[in-house]
Amino acid sequence: MPSLKDLRNRISSVKATQKITKAMQMVAAAKLRRAQAAAEAARPYAERIEKVLANLAGGVSSGAPVLLAGNGRDETHLLVVATAERGLCGAFNSSIVRLAREHIQRLQGQGKTVKILCVGKKGYDQLRRNYEKNIIELIELRGVRQLGFEQGDAIGRKVIDLFESGEFDVATLFFSRFKSVIQQFPTALQLIPAQISANENEAAVAGPQANYEYEPGQDEILATLLPRNISVQIFRALLENAASEQGARMSAMDNATRNAGDMIKKQTTLYNRSRQAIITKELIEIISGAEAL
């Protein structure tokens, strides 16, 4: 039976924890709003570039650039795993890592070589346990306050450099798509060869087919557009990730705050009961002492 002092200490420590989780939840809510706005602001550009690309790719006949058609091999896979820099955000990091791990196991089962590029420390920490030698680099975004296109572009350039020096054949990006505060979906997106979704292709065909004039040439435009598209996709994934992370943290901290509240209630009941029991005991002692006289 814990003493009254023990109980008091326990209650006050849970209260302190609750204050922290409550504060984290509110910070996450404020950051979420900003991250969501940034993700929404980036949407038009990404949609446009996809449309333009679909338009162009539909018209390309032969000798498509390698970024679009792939280099014809399927031996070495690069997995770009984007996670958060911090923990305490529920299953956010582990669900992205789980998806990546499933992918790695499947690829290794097929006898393919896997290389991993980690963006964000948490994913690196988790993947390092099993796949230390597969990880080629860790990119930390810890110091970055506001995600800008430069970050996406820098990663995009790195991926393209690796591709051009023949380090890998297929690149896939892992991140978490933001649906709502309580729903984030870990997603795998193939970067190289570029994936142009079928319905967009259809839309391009069904829509008013413009007879475009290209300046300089169609190939030159495609050659500049494809690397740009990769950077844009990565940038967009980073933004989605940021919003998902804050959403996941918000709901995780909300749960933690509620749990702490339950615990405080339970401990307080216990505290009051034992206090009353002690008072009753003392009274009985006094009365029976008085009766004995």
Partner: protein
């Protein structure tokens, strides 16, 4: 004057969207003006100033690394980087020029060097044109 729909988007946000009379854009092969019912054109843009002329008011924006897509539905510029000319100053262009000259020095292949020096030339030209 007849108007058409124009959009200027950068990866970070939508900078302009609306009906305009005319837009002047710095194409890689020369500056061009788009009016309503322009023939569909897709072109790379060089760093420069986009002039938007719509509903009696004019706007000037500096863009870098962009594409122009004139389609049947309207005109869209996808710019890697865009800010209003009023916010532009010599220091920013100088920083870009410095980056570009570093790119020229770092370029590994001839092709990359050619592209980088082309970009450097465009930036210097632009700086002179704006009189900064």
């Amino acid at each position: 004057m007849a108007t058409f729909h124009f959009e200027l988007v950068s990866p970070e946000k939508l900078l302009f969207s609306g009906e305009v009379d005319a837009v002047v854009a710095p194409g890689a092969e020369g500056v061009f003006t788009v009016l309503k019912d322009h023939a569909p054109v897709m072109t790379v843009l060089k760093p420069g100033v986009v002039e938007i002329d719509g509903a009696g008011k004019k706007e000037k924006l500096f863009v870098r690394g962009g594409f122009a897509d004139v389609g049947l539905g309207g005109f869209t510029i996808l710019a890697e980087y865009a800010i209003p000319v009023a916010d532009l100053d010599a220091a920013k262009i100088d920083a870009d020029i410095k980056d570009a000259s570093e790119d020229v020095a770092d370029a590994k292949s001839d092709e990359a060097r050619r592209l980088a020096s082309e970009k450097l030339g465009q930036l210097q030209e632009l700086k002179a044109a704006l009189g900064l």
